[in-house]
């Protein structure tokens, strides 16, 4: 039947209830007048039913009670390593998804950058600053980046040195 193309590709989604309401209504309108698409849909429906029946026949008298006999024996409490791993995961990975983790990591990096930026860019500031020296003789000053500043006073007559 002409015009089936777009509808045939929607039949599986129709069967799986994955169509929007307007798409579903459109497919139903088409199905009412198209025997070929009706046949396709019937085959898909039959396939589903047969597959279910085949599996159900296979598990009809499944020994489900035996499942727990085997499971109970093996339900040992988690090992110490598993406990540590679980606790560590909860502590260090409190994020519920990789996306959240990525956002968290990005935010942490931004904060870290903002905090360390002034430390990296600011020039070293000495904690002791020698502003002026009163002396009749000559003076030599050594000022390091740490808390040490050394001042030498040279007196011409006796050659004494002073240090503060």
């Amino acid at each position: 039947m002409p015009g089936c193309g777009p509808f045939r590709s929607l039949l599986e989604k129709y069967l799986d209830e994955a169509l929007l309401p307007q798409e579903r209504a459109s497919v139903e309108r088409h199905l009412r007048g198209c025997r070929r698409c009706q046949g396709e849909l019937e085959e898909l429906t039959a396939l589903r039913a047969h597959l279910r029946e085949a599996v159900e026949a296979g598990v009809a008298d499944a020994p489900l009670a035996r499942i727990w006999e085997g499971v109970a024996e093996r339900l040992e409490p988690p090992t110490i390593i598993e406990r540590i791993w679980g606790a560590g995961k909860a502590l260090f990975f409190p994020f519920r998804s990789l996306k959240a983790l990525a956002w968290g990591a990005a935010a942490a990096l931004v904060v870290l950058f903002l905090v360390t930026l002034p430390l990296v860019t600011a020039p070293p500031t000495p904690s002791v600053v020698v502003e002026s020296v009163e002396s009749e003789g000559s003076v030599m000053i050594f000022q390091g980046e740490d808390e040490i500043a050394i001042v030498w006073f040279f007196e011409e007559e006796e050659g004494k040195e002073g240090m503060r």
């Binding site: 039913a49 029946e53 026949a57 598990v59 499942i67 085997g70």
Partner: protein, 179 residues
């Protein structure tokens, strides 16, 4: 008791709560795994393994996600690993169960059809088989299947289409003019 409470108690290591949590799922998980391996003993063993694995990893389960898709994911991954092991070690290959005469219809045609389905399912790529079973047996949506098997929505739809087409081609004589 609500599922959330059972999950929280299971996360604290309460085995009784874990069993209560698993009981509603055991039939579905067993059927899914049977459809993957078509052998009752293997399906039973895999179901047990899935539950043990679920118990050991339930502490990592986040309430934000759906519990049954989480559980299905464990089961499907085990079935896929099982299949890989079988392929890698052909000497431990087991035969699949003979066609079952149990169920509502044990006619000759029914047995023949079941046998055809079983054979064709065994030939499908495992990932396609998993998608088909999750949809047709489990009734999961495309989105849920994508979460279980860890692939894109488009991949789910294409795998499902491929699997259905393969099955329809083989089973065409049984499908024509039904219902």
């Amino acid at each position: 008791m609500k599922e959330r409470e059972l999950i929280e108690r299971s996360q604290r290591g309460e085995k009784d709560a874990f069993q209560d949590l698993m009981v509603p799922y055991q039939g579905k998980i067993y059927s899914l795994l049977y459809g993957m391996v078509w052998n009752r003993e293997d399906a039973l063993e895999l179901t047990q393994e899935a539950f043990v694995k679920a118990y050991r990893s339930i502490r990592g389960f986040r309430m934000a996600s759906s519990f049954y898709t989480w559980l299905y994911r464990i089961a499907v991954n085990l079935a896929l690993d099982f299949r890989r092991q079988r392929v890698a070690n052909p000497e431990i290959q087991k035969t699949v169960d003979p066609p079952s005469t149990r169920g509502p219809d044990s006619s000759l045609l029914r047995k023949e059809l079941n046998e055809q389905i079983r054979m064709k399912m065994a030939q499908l790529p495992p990932q396609h088989r998993a998608v088909l079973l999750l949809r047709e047996m489990g009734g999961l949506s495309y989105k849920e299947i994508a979460k279980v098997v860890g692939c894109r929505l488009g991949t789910v739809m294409s795998r499902l289409h491929y699997a259905r087409e393969e099955m329809r081609r083989t089973l065409a004589p049984y499908l024509k003019g039904e219902d």
